[in-house]
Each structure stands twice: as structure tokens, then as C-alpha cells.
Symmetry: C2
Subunit: 324 residues, 2 copies
């Protein structure tokens, strides 16, 4: 069985080897910049791991793994334009380093490249792989659309929020696993179990992200605590707090969210105190545990020996304990 | 044999039937708006016609034809953002009617949908079709990148310009034909001949566009004459004029291009008079005829009876005589 760091090294090497070194450089340089800009390579590692559950020949899944990683980075590139983000992984985003038009067009070219890799995949279930990839890509767009819509909506429900993060984050982790499994020769049931495992891990991961923004350790979280609160971001915590708060707390919450005259730290501290009062931390932890448990049960059902699953379990654990 | 207007009706009906009527509407409505917004459907008609050269079953090429039309409209959508265009086919562009973020993301979703249709194509040469589509899509991006780069460059050569329009316009017409031919059962040689035919028609078409902007009839051209001159657009005519002009004419040309104090009409008239002096109109007509002749020779070589080719010839002629 391949280990996480071995797989990561394989992915990084392949990305380096397959750089696009031709004209127009102004189109391809941003793509290379985006792909070389690190990242944990979680999705392609999942693809190779899922393949490795059923086969020693992980090489057959490398093109699909790269396709998924390139697609993921393409979505980040376009999302960064839409979100006006200036920094990604400690470096200027493409639309800041180059310009917005370059970011749009290089993103498009990058997306096309992801299909180039996908089309190289050798499997008897080629068409199924294409369809999963495409269906998932469309869902990721839907997730981003909902995320943008929610910014200007006041009544986002818990259910809607969970569906949004499922589309924006979870389905790609799920598809990465399912595609790897299919290429490795998994049966339909195992492939579907791995899909569901990935989906639940993804949900747990995103909720953990919401939680860490408020309750994380600055040292391991890697950024200042409370960013979501300051930005009035509709996280799971805020939605749950609004749902559970009585009339008075609800009014207080709205007051703090809209008060232009309190300092950053005051705002974070006041909103957190309401979260504390309502037990939002524990509630969120519970639901994370629930998704995690579901995921582990699904992985357990996959019809390969336990020993083959240990690396996947390690990766899932590292995601949930991760520093961002 | 199907006629142009029959094929156009088939395409329009299929586009209408396959509208995406689900949530998030804010993601899919712009796609439907873009696809319903008319257009001559030249590319998908070419796909069906090329298929029809070799087979009566044009239905087998409909998915690929739609994929190409959707891809084409996706490029227009993103190009309109980059070019800050406000009107497309007489209606507000997507980023004006909605906003830029919606235009980026709906464009991405539209691009994914084009692959959905492509993947439905039934042919024994499925992988070849995928590869032609993808290769062409990347070339179209390259063409757009060069087009944007040329705006800020002063030394664009004739060769570079021709390569740019080949990438931006011609290769998609060429690929539309080749893909249709392959699906219809054409041999490799015929498919390649149709590709080259399409490429040359595309070049002739684009050069005709440059020519009509200066020498067209306002009534049939549908927009004011001289738009490219006013915008200092590096068309074939301007590049050729700069190349052929002596020292004095070159200086005059530069003077008129950069003079902020002359009226629109003066600028158009002065630049046109230099074009006239240098015989740019005739030169451009010659090269258009050359590409057109090459195209027709290539079509002649395609190994099907002449009668089967008449609709394709009609379409090519209508493109070159077209009102814009």
C-alpha cells in the first residue's frame, strides 16, 4: 500500500513533469503558477488511494487524479476572481498577479486541460468516469452559485447551508474517491460506499472549518480567529445560533453583526459569547462526529481487508485535525 | 440531403427542448438566455452537414453539434466579459444583464454542459471526437489570448494575425466539420479534407469581416462602416497597409490613428484613402479568393458525389456574402 506522502510526491512530480511550456506563455504561465502553488493534493491522493484499495497498479489512475486536481485548482482560480480574493496559499492570486481577463481565460484553458488528462484514463468504464466527473463539476458550480447567493440572503436555512457545502466541497472529494475506485476495479457497491464516505468526510471537514474559525487555536489554525464573524459569514455556527436563539439573544446577535462602531475583537468576543451561551460549539462538534461516524461505517463496509484502509483513515483523520 | 434551413430548425428545436429548467435558476437562466439568443447556428449546421455527406442518419451527430454550439456560445459569453461588450445580437450581454460573477460562473457551467452533450455522442471513434473537441477548445482560448495581446502590441505581423484568426475563428468551424464527418463514417482523408475546407472558409470569412468594416455597404453590413478604424483595431487591412506603406504614408497613417482632434468620419475617410492608395481592398479580396479557392478544391476532393456537397457550398457562399 502506498502511503500519503508517497502519493503526494507522485502527484507533485507528475504536475511538474507535465507543465505546459509553450506559447502563448501569457495563457499557460498562470496555469503552471496555479498548479505549482502547493496545496495538499488531497483530491488526487484520494483518487490514487481509492484505486490502491483494489489494485497495486495506481498508475492507471494518475491521469484521472491529475484531472481532478487541475479541475479543483481551476475552480479556485475563478472563485478567487468572484470573491475578489487577493491571496491564495500565501501568494498573490492570478487576477492580482496578472489581471482579471488573464484569470478568466487561463482558468478556461486550465479547465480544458483537466479534460485532456481525464480523456487519457484507461478503464473499461471510461464513459462512467466521464459522467461522474462532469456531473460533479456542474455540482461544484451550483455550490459556488449558492454560496454567492447566500451572501445577500438573510434566511439561509441549516438544510440549505449543508446542501451548499455538500455541492461546493464534498461532492468533489466523493467523486475523486469513486473515480479512483472504479479505475482500480471496484464493484458498484464499493464505489458508491467510497463516494458516500468522501461526501461525509467533506461535510465534517467543512463544518470543522467553520468551527475552527471561532474556536481554533491561532497557532495551528494559521490565521486570525473570528474572520467569519467579522465578515458576517453565514457559517453553520451562525445559522444554528439564529435558529436556537430566543428573542433577546437574536436581537443581540443582529445588533453585534450590524454594529459598525465596535472593534473587531469586541465583535468576535460578543458573538462568541452568544455561541457559548447557546452551546453552538458542542452542537457543531456533535454533528461533525455524526458525519465522521457515518463516513467510517461506510468505509468499513467496503469489501477489502481492514489493513488496506489504514492510509485512507489516516488521511481522513488528518483532514479533520488539520491546520488550515 | 437536408437543407440549411431544415438543419437550423432542427438545432433550434433541440436547444429549446434541452433547456435546463432547474435550480439554481440564477446559474442556469443566463445559459438558456445565451442559447436562445439566436445566432445563425453555423457551427452545428456544419457538423450535421458533414455527417450528412456520408450518412442519412444525421441524428447521430446532433449531440456533438449541440456541444459545439454550446461551446461557441460559452466562448462568446466569456469573451464579452473580457472585451467589456455590452450588446450581443441586439440584446444586453450576460454580464450587463446579470453581473460579472454570474457571467463567469454560468459560462463555466455552460462549458461543462457542452461536454455533457459531447459525451452522449455515439460513434466508434468516440475518443478521437473527444480529442478533436478538446484540442480545438484549447486553440480557441489561445486565439482569444493572442487577440487580447495584440491590442497592446504595435508590431503584429501578417503571419501572426492570420494565425490568431485561424485559432480564434477557423479551427472551430474546421472541427465542427471534421467531427460531423467522423460520426457520419467518413474515412480519415475525407475528414481531414473537410477540416481544411472549414479552416480556409473560416479565414476567408474573417478577412471578409475586416474588409466589410471598411468597404461594406452600411445597409447589408448592419453596422456603421469604419468601426475597426475608429478603434485602431489591428485588422488585416491595417497590418497590410503598414507593411506596404512608404515612409510618408506610414507617418500619415500613424498620425491619423493617434490624432485625438479629428472627427470619426474624418479619421475613417483619411485612413481609407491611404488604404485605397495602397490597393489594400484588392489585395484583401485576392487573399480571400485564394482561401476560398483552396477551400473549394479541398471540398471537391472529398470522395462523395458532387450533388451531396451543394448545401455545404451554399452555406460557405452565404457566409462569405453575409450581412453581419
Amino acid at each position: 500500500m502506498y502511503q500519503i506522502n508517497e502519493l503526494q510526491a507522485i502527484i507533485n512530480k507528475e504536475i511538474e513533469t507535465r507543465k505546459i511550456g509553450r506559447e502563448p506563455f501569457s495563457l499557460y504561465d498562470p496555469i503552471n503558477y496555479s498548479l505549482s502553488n502547493g496545496g495538499k493534493r488531497v483530491r488526487p491522493i484520494l483518487t490514487l488511494m481509492a484505486c490502491n484499495l483494489f489494485s497495486e497498479e495506481i498508475n492507471q489512475a494518475i491521469d484521472a487524479a491529475l484531472a481532478i486536481e487541475i479541475f479543483h485548482n481551476f475552480t479556485l482560480l475563478h472563485d478567487d476572481i468572484m470573491d475578489k480574493a487577493e491571496i491564495r496559499r500565501g501568494k498573490p492570486t492570478i487576477h492580482k498577479k496578472w489581471n482579471e481577463n488573464t484569470a478568466i481565460l487561463s482558468g478556461d484553458a486550465m479547465f480544458i486541460k483537466s479534460y485532456d488528462f481525464l480523456f487519457e484514463t484507461k478503464t473499461t468504464k471510461f464513459k462512467e468516469v466521464l459522467q461522474i466527473f462532469n456531473h460533479t463539476a456542474l455540482e461544484v458550480c451550483e455550490g459556488q452559485q449558492y454560496d454567492m447567493e447566500f451572501e445577500t440572503r438573510k434566511d439561509v436555512s441549516e438544510k440549505e447551508y449543508l446542501r451548499m457545502i455538500e455541492l461546493k466541497t464534498s461532492v468533489l472529494l466523493a467523486a475523486a474517491l469513486k473515480i479512483g475506485a472504479i479505475i482500480g476495479g471496484a464493484g458498484e457497491k464499493d464505489a458508491d460506499l467510497l463516494y458516500d464516505f468522501g461526501k461525509n468526510i467533506g461535510l465534517a471537514f467543512q463544518l470543522q472549518d467553520d468551527l475552527l474559525d471561532v474556536y481554533g487555536d491561532t497557532k495551528t489554525f494559521g490565521k486570525e480567529i473570528g474572520g467569519d464573524i467579522v465578515a458576517n459569514k453565514k457559517t453553520f455556527l451562525l445559522i444554528k445560533a439564529k435558529q436556537l436563539a430566543g428573542k433577546d439573544d437574536k436581537e443581540l446577535l443582529e445588533k453585534f453583526l450590524n454594529d459598525q462602531n465596535i472593534t473587531r475583537n469586541e465583535k468576535v468576543s460578543k458573538v462568541t459569547s452568544i455561541y457559548n451561551k447557546l452551546g453552538i460549539k458542542e452542537l457543531t462538534q456533535e454533528i461533525i462526529t455524526e458525519y465522521n461516524t457515518r463516513a467510517m461505517n461506510q468505509l468499513q463496509e467496503v469489501s477489502v481487508q481492514y489493513e488496506r484502509k489504514t492510509e485512507l483513515i489516516k488521511l481522513a483523520e488528518s483532514l479533520l485535525k488539520r491546520e488550515k
